[in-house]
Amino acid sequence: MTGFLKVAWLVLRKDLRVESRSREMLSTTIFFAVSCVLVFSFGFVRGGRVVDGAVAGILWIAISFSGTLALARAFERERYHNVLGGLMLAPVHRPAIYLGKLLGLLLLLGIVEVVVVAMVAFLFQASLFQHFWRLLAILALGTIGFASVGTLFSAMLVRVKNRAVLLPVLLYPVTIPVLIMGVSGTAALLQPEPNLAMVQLWISLLFFFDTVFLTLALWTFEPVMTE
Amino acid sequence: MKRSGCRFDVGLRLMLLTLFVSLVLVQTTFAVQPLETAQDEFVPMDEIPAEEQLPAAPLLVSAYAAVWAIAIGYLWTIGRRLGALEREILDVSRRVADREGS
Protein backbone atom coordinates (compact mmCIF):
# COMPACT_ATOMS: atom_id res chain seq x y z
CA MET A 1 0.00 0.00 0.00
CA THR A 2 1.59 3.22 -1.14
CA GLY A 3 1.70 5.96 1.46
CA PHE A 4 -1.44 7.99 1.98
CA LEU A 5 0.08 11.38 1.18
CA LYS A 6 2.02 10.00 -1.75
CA VAL A 7 -1.19 8.77 -3.36
CA ALA A 8 -2.84 12.12 -2.80
CA TRP A 9 0.15 13.84 -4.37
CA LEU A 10 0.03 11.50 -7.38
CA VAL A 11 -3.65 12.23 -7.97
CA LEU A 12 -2.99 15.95 -7.61
CA ARG A 13 -0.07 15.81 -10.00
CA LYS A 14 -2.16 13.98 -12.57
CA ASP A 15 -4.86 16.63 -12.36
CA LEU A 16 -2.36 19.46 -12.60
CA ARG A 17 -0.71 17.89 -15.61
CA VAL A 18 -4.01 17.43 -17.43
CA GLU A 19 -5.07 20.96 -16.60
CA SER A 20 -1.77 22.55 -17.58
CA ARG A 21 -2.13 21.24 -21.11
CA SER A 22 -5.38 22.99 -21.89
CA ARG A 23 -6.00 25.35 -18.98
CA GLU A 24 -9.63 24.99 -19.87
CA MET A 25 -11.03 24.67 -16.38
CA LEU A 26 -9.03 27.53 -14.99
CA SER A 27 -9.97 30.01 -17.67
CA THR A 28 -13.63 29.07 -17.80
CA THR A 29 -14.02 29.16 -14.03
CA ILE A 30 -12.30 32.53 -13.72
CA PHE A 31 -14.44 33.93 -16.48
CA PHE A 32 -17.58 32.58 -14.87
CA ALA A 33 -16.64 34.07 -11.49
CA VAL A 34 -16.00 37.44 -13.08
CA SER A 35 -19.37 37.33 -14.84
CA CYS A 36 -21.03 36.43 -11.56
CA VAL A 37 -19.59 39.46 -9.82
CA LEU A 38 -20.70 41.70 -12.69
CA VAL A 39 -24.20 40.27 -12.76
CA PHE A 40 -24.59 40.74 -9.04
CA SER A 41 -23.26 44.26 -9.32
CA PHE A 42 -26.15 45.14 -11.59
CA GLY A 43 -28.45 43.75 -8.97
CA PHE A 44 -26.98 45.57 -6.01
CA VAL A 45 -25.57 48.87 -7.17
CA ARG A 46 -27.84 51.89 -6.82
CA GLY A 47 -26.83 55.30 -8.01
CA GLY A 48 -23.24 54.27 -8.50
CA ARG A 49 -22.84 52.93 -4.98
CA VAL A 50 -23.19 49.39 -3.83
CA VAL A 51 -26.04 48.69 -1.44
CA ASP A 52 -24.87 48.62 2.16
CA GLY A 53 -23.27 45.35 3.16
CA ALA A 54 -23.76 43.65 -0.20
CA VAL A 55 -20.04 43.37 -0.94
CA ALA A 56 -19.44 40.37 1.30
CA GLY A 57 -22.48 38.64 -0.12
CA ILE A 58 -21.44 39.22 -3.73
CA LEU A 59 -17.96 37.89 -3.00
CA TRP A 60 -19.15 34.70 -1.39
CA ILE A 61 -21.93 33.98 -3.84
CA ALA A 62 -19.46 34.33 -6.72
CA ILE A 63 -17.12 31.88 -4.94
CA SER A 64 -19.98 29.51 -4.24
CA PHE A 65 -21.33 29.47 -7.80
CA SER A 66 -17.97 29.20 -9.53
CA GLY A 67 -16.96 26.55 -7.02
CA THR A 68 -19.97 24.45 -7.97
CA LEU A 69 -19.12 24.84 -11.64
CA ALA A 70 -15.52 23.80 -11.04
CA LEU A 71 -16.67 20.77 -9.04
CA ALA A 72 -18.99 19.63 -11.78
CA ARG A 73 -16.26 20.03 -14.40
CA ALA A 74 -13.59 18.37 -12.30
CA PHE A 75 -15.47 15.15 -12.07
CA GLU A 76 -16.76 15.20 -15.64
CA ARG A 77 -13.22 14.47 -16.67
CA GLU A 78 -13.12 11.43 -14.47
CA ARG A 79 -16.20 10.03 -16.10
CA TYR A 80 -14.62 9.62 -19.50
CA HIS A 81 -12.77 6.32 -19.69
CA ASN A 82 -14.04 5.63 -16.19
CA VAL A 83 -10.89 7.00 -14.59
CA LEU A 84 -12.43 7.15 -11.15
CA GLY A 85 -13.47 3.52 -11.33
CA GLY A 86 -9.94 2.59 -12.27
CA LEU A 87 -8.55 4.66 -9.43
CA MET A 88 -10.85 2.98 -6.95
CA LEU A 89 -9.58 -0.43 -8.02
CA ALA A 90 -6.01 0.50 -7.20
CA PRO A 91 -4.67 -1.00 -3.95
CA VAL A 92 -4.40 2.33 -2.20
CA HIS A 93 -6.12 4.13 0.62
CA ARG A 94 -9.31 5.36 -1.06
CA PRO A 95 -9.56 8.56 1.00
CA ALA A 96 -6.18 9.54 -0.44
CA ILE A 97 -7.84 9.81 -3.85
CA TYR A 98 -10.40 12.14 -2.29
CA LEU A 99 -7.65 14.24 -0.77
CA GLY A 100 -5.80 14.51 -4.05
CA LYS A 101 -8.90 15.73 -5.86
CA LEU A 102 -9.68 18.14 -3.00
CA LEU A 103 -6.21 19.68 -3.12
CA GLY A 104 -6.48 20.16 -6.88
CA LEU A 105 -9.80 21.90 -6.45
CA LEU A 106 -8.50 24.10 -3.66
CA LEU A 107 -5.64 25.23 -5.88
CA LEU A 108 -8.06 26.11 -8.66
CA LEU A 109 -10.45 27.93 -6.33
CA GLY A 110 -7.54 29.75 -4.72
CA ILE A 111 -6.50 31.23 -8.04
CA VAL A 112 -10.10 32.14 -8.87
CA GLU A 113 -10.51 33.84 -5.50
CA VAL A 114 -7.43 35.97 -5.98
CA VAL A 115 -9.04 37.33 -9.14
CA VAL A 116 -12.47 37.75 -7.56
CA VAL A 117 -11.22 39.48 -4.42
CA ALA A 118 -9.12 41.87 -6.45
CA MET A 119 -12.07 42.60 -8.68
CA VAL A 120 -14.48 43.15 -5.80
CA ALA A 121 -12.03 45.40 -3.98
CA PHE A 122 -11.55 47.41 -7.15
CA LEU A 123 -15.18 47.68 -8.25
CA PHE A 124 -16.69 48.48 -4.88
CA GLN A 125 -13.81 50.31 -3.22
CA ALA A 126 -14.02 47.75 -0.46
CA SER A 127 -11.24 47.96 2.07
CA LEU A 128 -10.62 44.24 1.93
CA PHE A 129 -6.90 44.38 2.51
CA GLN A 130 -6.81 46.25 5.78
CA HIS A 131 -6.96 43.09 7.81
CA PHE A 132 -5.26 40.93 5.26
CA TRP A 133 -4.45 37.85 7.34
CA ARG A 134 -7.90 37.64 8.82
CA LEU A 135 -9.49 37.96 5.41
CA LEU A 136 -7.16 35.27 4.13
CA ALA A 137 -8.15 33.02 7.03
CA ILE A 138 -11.85 33.48 6.37
CA LEU A 139 -11.50 32.89 2.64
CA ALA A 140 -9.22 29.89 3.04
CA LEU A 141 -11.28 28.19 5.74
CA GLY A 142 -14.54 28.90 3.97
CA THR A 143 -13.26 27.53 0.68
CA ILE A 144 -11.92 24.42 2.39
CA GLY A 145 -15.30 23.84 4.03
CA PHE A 146 -17.18 24.31 0.78
CA ALA A 147 -14.77 22.25 -1.30
CA SER A 148 -14.52 19.35 1.15
CA VAL A 149 -18.27 18.78 1.06
CA GLY A 150 -18.41 19.53 -2.65
CA THR A 151 -15.66 17.09 -3.63
CA LEU A 152 -17.40 14.27 -1.80
CA PHE A 153 -20.82 15.03 -3.26
CA SER A 154 -19.38 15.46 -6.73
CA ALA A 155 -17.58 12.13 -6.50
CA MET A 156 -20.74 10.52 -5.15
CA LEU A 157 -22.76 11.72 -8.11
CA VAL A 158 -20.26 10.88 -10.83
CA ARG A 159 -22.27 7.94 -12.13
CA VAL A 160 -25.72 9.37 -11.49
CA LYS A 161 -27.77 10.39 -14.48
CA ASN A 162 -29.11 13.67 -13.09
CA ARG A 163 -25.83 14.76 -11.55
CA ALA A 164 -25.81 18.19 -13.20
CA VAL A 165 -28.96 19.27 -11.40
CA LEU A 166 -28.50 17.17 -8.27
CA LEU A 167 -25.10 18.59 -7.32
CA PRO A 168 -26.37 22.12 -6.56
CA VAL A 169 -29.51 20.68 -4.98
CA LEU A 170 -27.43 18.66 -2.53
CA LEU A 171 -24.51 21.01 -2.08
CA TYR A 172 -26.09 24.40 -1.39
CA PRO A 173 -28.25 23.50 1.62
CA VAL A 174 -25.44 21.60 3.31
CA THR A 175 -22.92 24.41 2.78
CA ILE A 176 -25.20 27.22 3.93
CA PRO A 177 -23.40 27.43 7.31
CA VAL A 178 -20.16 28.07 5.40
CA LEU A 179 -21.88 30.83 3.46
CA ILE A 180 -23.33 32.38 6.61
CA MET A 181 -20.03 32.25 8.45
CA GLY A 182 -18.01 33.49 5.47
CA VAL A 183 -20.33 36.35 4.64
CA SER A 184 -20.73 37.42 8.26
CA GLY A 185 -17.01 37.26 8.88
CA THR A 186 -16.16 39.22 5.73
CA ALA A 187 -18.90 41.76 6.38
CA ALA A 188 -17.66 42.22 9.94
CA LEU A 189 -14.18 42.91 8.55
CA LEU A 190 -15.53 45.51 6.15
CA GLN A 191 -17.14 47.61 8.87
CA PRO A 192 -15.56 51.02 9.46
CA GLU A 193 -14.55 49.76 12.92
CA PRO A 194 -14.48 46.00 12.69
CA ASN A 195 -15.43 43.98 15.75
CA LEU A 196 -12.31 41.82 15.74
CA ALA A 197 -13.57 39.54 18.49
CA MET A 198 -16.60 38.70 16.37
CA VAL A 199 -14.39 38.04 13.36
CA GLN A 200 -12.25 35.75 15.48
CA LEU A 201 -15.39 33.87 16.49
CA TRP A 202 -16.41 33.34 12.88
CA ILE A 203 -12.92 32.16 12.01
CA SER A 204 -12.94 29.60 14.83
CA LEU A 205 -16.40 28.39 13.81
CA LEU A 206 -15.21 27.95 10.23
CA PHE A 207 -12.20 26.04 11.47
CA PHE A 208 -14.45 23.79 13.52
CA PHE A 209 -16.77 23.22 10.57
CA ASP A 210 -13.83 22.33 8.34
CA THR A 211 -12.42 19.85 10.83
CA VAL A 212 -15.73 18.07 11.31
CA PHE A 213 -16.70 17.89 7.67
CA LEU A 214 -13.28 17.04 6.31
CA THR A 215 -13.11 14.17 8.78
CA LEU A 216 -16.62 13.04 7.84
CA ALA A 217 -15.77 13.18 4.15
CA LEU A 218 -12.58 11.15 4.58
CA TRP A 219 -14.47 8.67 6.72
CA THR A 220 -17.40 8.18 4.37
CA PHE A 221 -15.62 8.41 1.01
CA GLU A 222 -14.87 4.75 0.64
CA PRO A 223 -18.23 3.27 1.75
CA VAL A 224 -20.14 5.77 -0.34
CA MET A 225 -18.12 5.11 -3.48
CA THR A 226 -17.95 1.33 -3.32
CA GLU A 227 -20.80 -0.98 -4.18
CA MET B 1 -60.37 8.74 -29.70
CA LYS B 2 -59.39 11.45 -32.07
CA ARG B 3 -62.60 13.41 -31.48
CA SER B 4 -62.14 13.54 -27.72
CA GLY B 5 -58.55 14.59 -28.35
CA CYS B 6 -59.76 17.53 -30.43
CA ARG B 7 -62.26 18.54 -27.75
CA PHE B 8 -59.56 18.47 -25.13
CA ASP B 9 -57.34 20.60 -27.31
CA VAL B 10 -60.05 23.25 -27.79
CA GLY B 11 -60.88 23.20 -24.10
CA LEU B 12 -57.23 23.72 -23.21
CA ARG B 13 -56.95 26.66 -25.55
CA LEU B 14 -60.09 28.25 -24.14
CA MET B 15 -58.69 27.83 -20.65
CA LEU B 16 -55.40 29.45 -21.59
CA LEU B 17 -57.22 32.35 -23.25
CA THR B 18 -59.38 32.90 -20.17
CA LEU B 19 -56.29 32.80 -17.96
CA PHE B 20 -54.52 35.33 -20.16
CA VAL B 21 -57.49 37.69 -20.21
CA SER B 22 -57.94 37.53 -16.45
CA LEU B 23 -54.23 38.17 -15.90
CA VAL B 24 -54.45 41.28 -18.06
CA LEU B 25 -57.46 42.50 -16.08
CA VAL B 26 -55.69 41.87 -12.77
CA GLN B 27 -52.66 43.78 -14.02
CA THR B 28 -54.74 46.87 -14.76
CA THR B 29 -56.24 46.92 -11.26
CA PHE B 30 -52.76 46.84 -9.77
CA ALA B 31 -51.60 49.63 -12.01
CA VAL B 32 -54.27 51.95 -10.61
CA GLN B 33 -53.18 51.52 -6.96
CA PRO B 34 -50.81 54.17 -5.56
CA LEU B 35 -47.19 53.22 -5.04
CA GLU B 36 -46.14 52.63 -1.47
CA THR B 37 -43.54 54.98 -0.11
CA ALA B 38 -40.51 53.17 1.24
CA GLN B 39 -40.17 53.06 4.97
CA ASP B 40 -36.89 54.20 6.44
CA GLU B 41 -36.92 52.37 9.69
CA PHE B 42 -39.15 50.52 12.07
CA VAL B 43 -41.06 52.81 14.40
CA PRO B 44 -41.89 51.10 17.67
CA MET B 45 -45.38 51.35 19.06
CA ASP B 46 -46.46 50.53 22.54
CA GLU B 47 -50.11 49.80 21.95
CA ILE B 48 -51.68 48.95 18.64
CA PRO B 49 -55.27 50.23 18.51
CA ALA B 50 -57.72 47.41 18.92
CA GLU B 51 -59.21 47.63 15.45
CA GLU B 52 -55.79 47.09 13.82
CA GLN B 53 -54.90 44.02 15.82
CA LEU B 54 -55.18 40.69 14.08
CA PRO B 55 -57.73 38.36 15.57
CA ALA B 56 -55.84 35.58 17.27
CA ALA B 57 -58.43 32.84 17.38
CA PRO B 58 -58.51 32.11 13.61
CA LEU B 59 -54.70 31.89 13.60
CA LEU B 60 -54.70 29.44 16.48
CA VAL B 61 -57.43 27.34 14.97
CA SER B 62 -55.85 27.27 11.53
CA ALA B 63 -52.48 26.34 13.03
CA TYR B 64 -54.02 23.44 14.88
CA ALA B 65 -56.05 22.43 11.82
CA ALA B 66 -52.90 22.55 9.67
CA VAL B 67 -51.07 20.20 12.04
CA TRP B 68 -53.97 17.77 12.04
CA ALA B 69 -54.39 17.99 8.26
CA ILE B 70 -50.70 17.33 7.60
CA ALA B 71 -50.56 14.40 10.01
CA ILE B 72 -53.70 12.77 8.68
CA GLY B 73 -52.79 13.56 5.07
CA TYR B 74 -49.42 11.91 5.47
CA LEU B 75 -50.97 8.88 7.15
CA TRP B 76 -53.40 8.62 4.26
CA THR B 77 -50.61 8.69 1.65
CA ILE B 78 -48.80 5.93 3.54
CA GLY B 79 -52.00 3.90 3.65
CA ARG B 80 -52.53 4.32 -0.06
CA ARG B 81 -48.97 3.32 -0.92
CA LEU B 82 -49.12 0.37 1.45
CA GLY B 83 -52.37 -0.82 -0.10
CA ALA B 84 -50.96 -0.63 -3.62
CA LEU B 85 -47.79 -2.44 -2.54
CA GLU B 86 -49.65 -5.23 -0.80
CA ARG B 87 -51.88 -5.76 -3.83
CA GLU B 88 -48.80 -5.99 -6.01
CA ILE B 89 -47.14 -8.41 -3.57
CA LEU B 90 -50.17 -10.69 -3.70
CA ASP B 91 -50.12 -10.58 -7.47
CA VAL B 92 -46.42 -11.33 -7.82
CA SER B 93 -46.44 -14.10 -5.20
CA ARG B 94 -49.29 -15.72 -7.08
CA ARG B 95 -47.25 -15.58 -10.26
CA VAL B 96 -44.24 -17.08 -8.47
CA ALA B 97 -46.43 -19.85 -7.07
CA ASP B 98 -47.89 -20.51 -10.53
CA ARG B 99 -44.44 -20.63 -12.00
CA GLU B 100 -43.29 -23.08 -9.34
CA GLY B 101 -46.40 -25.19 -9.74
CA SER B 102 -46.12 -25.58 -13.51
Binding site: F153, K161, V169, P173, V224 | A56, W68, I70, I89
Partner: protein, 220 residues
Protein backbone atom coordinates in the same frame (compact mmCIF):
# COMPACT_ATOMS: atom_id res chain seq x y z
CA UNK C 1 -43.91 -7.21 18.83
CA UNK C 2 -45.43 -4.99 16.18
CA UNK C 3 -48.93 -6.30 16.80
CA UNK C 4 -48.91 -5.12 20.39
CA UNK C 5 -46.79 -1.99 20.34
CA UNK C 6 -48.15 -0.44 17.18
CA UNK C 7 -51.82 -0.24 18.25
CA UNK C 8 -50.72 1.03 21.63
CA UNK C 9 -48.69 3.75 19.96
CA UNK C 10 -51.57 4.76 17.72
CA UNK C 11 -54.02 4.77 20.63
CA UNK C 12 -51.66 6.84 22.75
CA UNK C 13 -51.08 9.35 19.93
CA UNK C 14 -54.81 9.70 19.30
CA UNK C 15 -55.50 10.10 23.01
CA UNK C 16 -53.00 12.87 23.35
CA UNK C 17 -54.13 14.66 20.23
CA UNK C 18 -57.78 14.59 21.08
CA UNK C 19 -57.32 15.75 24.65
CA UNK C 20 -54.70 18.33 23.75
CA UNK C 21 -57.18 21.11 22.90
CA UNK C 22 -58.73 20.83 26.34
CA UNK C 23 -55.39 20.87 28.05
CA UNK C 24 -54.29 23.82 25.97
CA UNK C 25 -57.43 25.78 26.76
CA UNK C 26 -56.86 25.10 30.45
CA UNK C 27 -53.39 26.62 30.29
CA UNK C 28 -53.10 30.22 31.45
CA UNK C 29 -52.85 33.08 28.97
CA UNK C 30 -49.41 34.41 28.36
CA UNK C 31 -49.20 38.06 29.34
CA UNK C 32 -47.83 39.73 26.21
CA UNK C 33 -48.99 37.44 23.46
CA UNK C 34 -52.35 36.26 24.70
CA UNK C 35 -54.26 33.62 22.87
CA UNK C 36 -51.97 33.12 19.91
CA UNK C 37 -49.10 32.01 22.13
CA UNK C 38 -50.94 28.74 22.52
CA UNK C 39 -49.69 27.76 19.09
CA UNK C 40 -46.45 27.18 20.96
CA UNK C 41 -47.84 23.97 22.44
CA UNK C 42 -47.67 22.20 19.13
CA UNK C 43 -45.10 24.37 17.38
CA UNK C 44 -42.31 23.45 19.77
CA UNK C 45 -43.08 19.70 19.92
CA UNK C 46 -43.21 19.48 16.13
CA UNK C 47 -39.65 20.87 16.07
CA UNK C 48 -38.58 18.30 18.60
CA UNK C 49 -40.18 15.57 16.52
CA UNK C 50 -38.28 16.90 13.50
CA UNK C 51 -35.00 16.79 15.43
CA UNK C 52 -35.72 13.30 16.64
CA UNK C 53 -36.36 12.22 13.05
CA UNK C 54 -33.16 13.85 11.81
CA UNK C 55 -31.24 12.13 14.57
CA UNK C 56 -32.74 8.78 13.62
CA UNK C 57 -31.93 9.53 9.98
CA UNK C 58 -28.30 10.19 10.83
CA UNK C 59 -27.85 7.07 12.93
CA UNK C 60 -29.64 4.86 10.41
CA UNK C 61 -27.51 6.33 7.61
CA UNK C 62 -24.32 5.51 9.48
CA UNK C 63 -25.49 1.95 10.13
CA UNK C 64 -26.53 1.49 6.52
CA UNK C 65 -23.35 2.96 5.08
CA UNK C 66 -21.02 0.84 7.18
CA UNK C 67 -23.03 -2.32 7.77
CA UNK C 68 -25.32 -2.34 4.73
CA UNK C 69 -28.27 -3.55 6.81
CA UNK C 70 -31.31 -3.17 4.51
CA UNK C 71 -33.58 -2.43 7.45
CA UNK C 72 -31.47 0.61 8.34
CA UNK C 73 -32.00 2.02 4.87
CA UNK C 74 -35.76 1.67 5.26
CA UNK C 75 -35.65 3.43 8.60
CA UNK C 76 -33.49 6.20 7.16
CA UNK C 77 -35.84 7.06 4.30
CA UNK C 78 -38.84 6.86 6.65
CA UNK C 79 -37.17 9.17 9.13
CA UNK C 80 -36.34 11.64 6.36
CA UNK C 81 -39.95 11.78 5.20
CA UNK C 82 -41.14 12.21 8.77
CA UNK C 83 -38.68 15.01 9.34
CA UNK C 84 -40.04 16.80 6.27
CA UNK C 85 -43.61 16.32 7.54
CA UNK C 86 -42.90 17.61 11.05
CA UNK C 87 -40.75 20.39 9.67
CA UNK C 88 -43.66 21.44 7.49
CA UNK C 89 -45.90 21.54 10.56
CA UNK C 90 -43.39 23.76 12.31
CA UNK C 91 -42.93 26.02 9.29
CA UNK C 92 -46.67 26.56 8.97
CA UNK C 93 -47.41 27.12 12.67
CA UNK C 94 -44.38 29.39 13.07
CA UNK C 95 -45.44 32.17 10.71
CA UNK C 96 -49.06 31.84 11.85
CA UNK C 97 -47.81 32.67 15.34
CA UNK C 98 -45.34 35.21 14.03
CA UNK C 99 -47.84 37.25 12.05
CA UNK C 100 -49.56 38.06 15.33
CA UNK C 101 -46.51 38.29 17.56
CA UNK C 102 -44.18 40.13 15.17
CA UNK C 103 -46.63 41.75 12.81
CA UNK C 104 -44.97 40.17 9.77
CA UNK C 105 -45.14 36.68 8.32
CA UNK C 106 -41.40 36.17 8.19
CA UNK C 107 -38.71 37.86 10.17
CA UNK C 108 -35.59 35.76 9.64
CA UNK C 109 -35.91 34.42 13.14
CA UNK C 110 -32.90 32.19 13.82
CA UNK C 111 -34.91 29.06 14.59
CA UNK C 112 -37.28 29.36 11.65
CA UNK C 113 -34.38 30.08 9.29
CA UNK C 114 -32.55 27.02 10.53
CA UNK C 115 -35.71 25.02 10.06
CA UNK C 116 -36.04 26.11 6.45
CA UNK C 117 -32.45 25.12 5.70
CA UNK C 118 -32.90 21.73 7.38
CA UNK C 119 -36.09 21.22 5.44
CA UNK C 120 -34.14 21.96 2.25
CA UNK C 121 -31.50 19.39 3.16
CA UNK C 122 -34.18 16.79 3.83
CA UNK C 123 -36.04 17.52 0.61
CA UNK C 124 -32.70 17.24 -1.20
CA UNK C 125 -32.31 13.83 0.45
CA UNK C 126 -35.71 12.72 -0.84
CA UNK C 127 -34.96 14.12 -4.31
CA UNK C 128 -31.70 12.20 -4.38
CA UNK C 129 -33.43 8.97 -3.47
CA UNK C 130 -36.13 9.53 -6.05
CA UNK C 131 -34.01 10.72 -8.99
CA UNK C 132 -30.58 9.39 -8.18
CA UNK C 133 -31.06 6.11 -9.94
CA UNK C 134 -29.46 2.86 -8.80
CA UNK C 135 -27.06 3.14 -5.93
CA UNK C 136 -28.76 6.24 -4.58
CA UNK C 137 -29.35 4.53 -1.24
CA UNK C 138 -25.64 4.66 -0.47
CA UNK C 139 -25.33 8.24 -1.67
CA UNK C 140 -28.35 9.29 0.33
CA UNK C 141 -26.84 7.66 3.41
CA UNK C 142 -23.81 9.91 2.96
CA UNK C 143 -26.06 12.94 2.62
CA UNK C 144 -28.02 11.89 5.70
CA UNK C 145 -24.87 11.79 7.80
CA UNK C 146 -23.81 15.21 6.54
CA UNK C 147 -27.27 16.56 7.23
CA UNK C 148 -27.26 15.40 10.81
CA UNK C 149 -23.73 16.70 11.36
CA UNK C 150 -24.85 20.07 10.04
CA UNK C 151 -27.51 20.63 12.71
CA UNK C 152 -25.27 22.12 15.42
CA UNK C 153 -23.49 24.34 12.90
CA UNK C 154 -26.77 25.61 11.48
CA UNK C 155 -28.00 26.30 14.99
CA UNK C 156 -24.95 28.29 16.01
CA UNK C 157 -24.47 30.16 12.78
CA UNK C 158 -28.10 31.22 12.39
CA UNK C 159 -28.23 32.32 16.04
CA UNK C 160 -25.10 34.42 15.66
CA UNK C 161 -26.25 35.72 12.29
CA UNK C 162 -29.44 37.03 13.81
CA UNK C 163 -27.90 38.69 16.82
CA UNK C 164 -26.00 41.05 14.54
CA UNK C 165 -29.25 42.34 13.10
CA UNK C 166 -31.70 44.17 15.36
CA UNK C 167 -34.40 41.94 16.70
CA UNK C 168 -37.95 43.08 17.15
CA UNK C 169 -39.51 39.74 17.97
CA UNK C 170 -40.61 38.41 21.28
CA UNK C 171 -38.34 35.55 22.21
CA UNK C 172 -40.28 32.83 23.95
CA UNK C 173 -38.75 31.24 27.01
CA UNK C 174 -40.05 28.15 28.74
CA UNK C 175 -41.96 29.25 31.83
CA UNK C 176 -42.84 26.55 34.34
CA UNK C 177 -46.53 27.50 34.59
CA UNK C 178 -47.10 26.37 31.06
CA UNK C 179 -45.32 23.08 31.60
CA UNK C 180 -48.26 20.71 31.74
CA UNK C 181 -49.88 21.36 28.36
CA UNK C 182 -46.47 21.64 26.74
CA UNK C 183 -45.19 18.28 27.95
CA UNK C 184 -48.52 16.69 27.24
CA UNK C 185 -48.38 17.81 23.60
CA UNK C 186 -44.70 16.97 23.50
CA UNK C 187 -45.43 13.39 24.57
CA UNK C 188 -48.15 13.23 21.94
CA UNK C 189 -45.84 14.33 19.18
CA UNK C 190 -43.07 11.94 20.21
CA UNK C 191 -45.50 9.05 20.24
CA UNK C 192 -46.95 10.14 16.90
CA UNK C 193 -43.47 10.34 15.46
CA UNK C 194 -42.62 6.80 16.56
CA UNK C 195 -45.95 5.44 15.37
CA UNK C 196 -45.52 7.03 11.93
CA UNK C 197 -41.96 5.71 11.79
CA UNK C 198 -43.24 2.19 12.40
CA UNK C 199 -45.83 2.48 9.68
CA UNK C 200 -43.50 4.05 7.16
CA UNK C 201 -40.75 1.49 7.86
CA UNK C 202 -43.26 -1.25 7.28
CA UNK C 203 -43.96 0.31 3.89
CA UNK C 204 -40.25 0.09 3.10
CA UNK C 205 -40.10 -3.51 4.27
CA UNK C 206 -43.00 -4.41 1.99
CA UNK C 207 -41.30 -2.65 -0.89
CA UNK C 208 -38.12 -4.65 -0.31
CA UNK C 209 -40.18 -7.84 -0.09
CA UNK C 210 -41.75 -7.01 -3.43
CA UNK C 211 -38.33 -6.47 -4.99
CA UNK C 212 -37.17 -9.84 -3.72
CA UNK C 213 -40.30 -11.43 -5.17
CA UNK C 214 -39.63 -9.84 -8.54
CA UNK C 215 -36.10 -11.18 -8.41
CA UNK C 216 -37.32 -14.75 -7.76
CA UNK C 217 -39.81 -14.32 -10.59
CA UNK C 218 -37.09 -13.32 -12.98
CA UNK C 219 -34.77 -16.07 -11.87
CA UNK C 220 -37.13 -18.83 -12.88
Amino acid sequence: MNRITFPILVAAALLVFVTAPFVIVWAPYESTMGLVQKIFYFHFPSWMAMFLSIFILGIASVIYLFRRTPRADGVAVSAAELAVVFGLMGLITGPLWGVKAWGVWWQWDARLTMAVILELILVAYLLLRRYGGPGSDRLAAGLGIFGMANVPFLYVSTELWRTVHPRTSVVPTLPIDFGVPLWWSFAGFMVLCLALLFVRSRLEEQRMRLERLYLTLEEE
